[in-house]
Amino acid sequence: MNAHQFQQHILCYSDQIYRMALSMLKDENKAKDLYQDLMMRLWERRQQLDGIANRRAFLLTSMRNMCIDKLRKEPVTEEIPAGTVDLGPNPHQIAEYSDTLNYLHQLIDELPEMQRIIIRLKDVEELDTWEIARIVSMTENAVAVNLSRARKKLREKIVANQQKEKNYDEQYR
């Protein structure tokens, strides 16, 4: 594989690979560093990339594995437990559209890691379930279950915030 082919067949997935790193690491600088590391490794082993059938799945799996390794080496930060009270931003602030988007980004980031990865692979990257299953090394059924849980959780939080906003309006009008 030469430079032109590397550009065409590997770098065309750059954005998706980077977003995988960003979703897992939740840190732009770390994601950028890891992305560059992966690209360099892939470039050095480019001759072995020719025989790969599903390059996208392979690349996303590679990125995911690198992120898992990186996270294992770092001090453990607990994910927010399921029963934590959602304080959220002031509903009045939610009315600002840009804050709404930041808030939703935060909601997605607060999902358990597997649900977060799967919902982004499905709804941001628009991949099929079978491909997601390959990337995260799960059965398609397990992917569907995680997706369902992620989306239900988001719906609950959106509806809860909607109620909070109504109550806030009621209280302060």
Binding site: A3, F6, Q7, L11, S14, D15, I17, Y18, R19, L22, K32, Y35, Q36, M39, M40, W43, A95, Y97, T100, L101, L104, H105, I108, R120, D123, V124, E125, E126, D128, A144, V145, L147, S148, R149, A150, R151, K152, L154, R155, I158, V159, N161, Q162, E165, K166, N167, D169, E170, R173
Partner: protein, 175 residues
């Protein structure tokens, strides 16, 4: 149509929607005729679109230098960079920052690489382009404004009709 969307939305949140249904939902939320009861989900779909479009990978430069020449190339790079840095420093300290072209004239218009030299024509062109930009913004903001208006109206009706019930629910939930 609304019933259909309700069904698809339910499938979506249950995680059992098909690819076709997902597409219908995304097109629906990208349009400007989102029903009031669905408005609260629009930002979620916008968030997915925004992530896809704004989270872009940094540029990876394919390395070209061979192993043998690496050290020599690096040393030359240091020396060259020092020279460039010195020149840049001088430029920054001695030369003004602003583009002289811009500050001397009221309107500067360059179309497809060619500058419009007639000041009156440049002014007319500039005004037409900024007006077009404002018109596009206005047209798109209208849909957002309408959606917010409808949401407020909906809230007002609910608040007036169910104020006590809402308070009751809040009280029981906090117990």
């Amino acid at each position: 149509m609304t019933n259909n969307i309700d069904d698809i939305l339910n499938h979506y949140f249950e995680g059992i929607s098909t690819a076709g249904e997902d597409k219908i939902l995304k097109d629906y939320f990208r349009g400007h005729q989102v029903a009031p009861q669905h408005e609260m989900y629009k930002p979620l779909f916008d968030q997915f679109d925004q992530e896809r479009e704004s989270m872009i990978a940094p540029r990876f430069v394919i390395p070209t230098a061979g192993e043998k020449g690496k050290r020599r190339a690096l040393r030359s790079l240091w020396i060259a960079s020092a020279g460039v840095a010195a020149v840049l420093l001088l430029c920054i300290l001695l030369l003004p920052f602003k583009d002289a072209r811009d500050t001397q004239q009221e309107y500067v218009v360059i179309v497809n690489g060619k500058k419009i030299s007639d000041p009156q024509k440049a002014k007319e062109y500039a005004e037409a382009m900024f007006t077009q930009a404002c018109a596009i913004k206005k047209e798109n903001y209208q849909s957002l404004g309408k959606a917010k208006e409808m949401q407020e109206m909906y809230n007002a009706a609910k608040i007036i009709g169910e104020a006590k019930k809402g308070t009751y629910l809040l009280t029981t939930r906090n117990q």
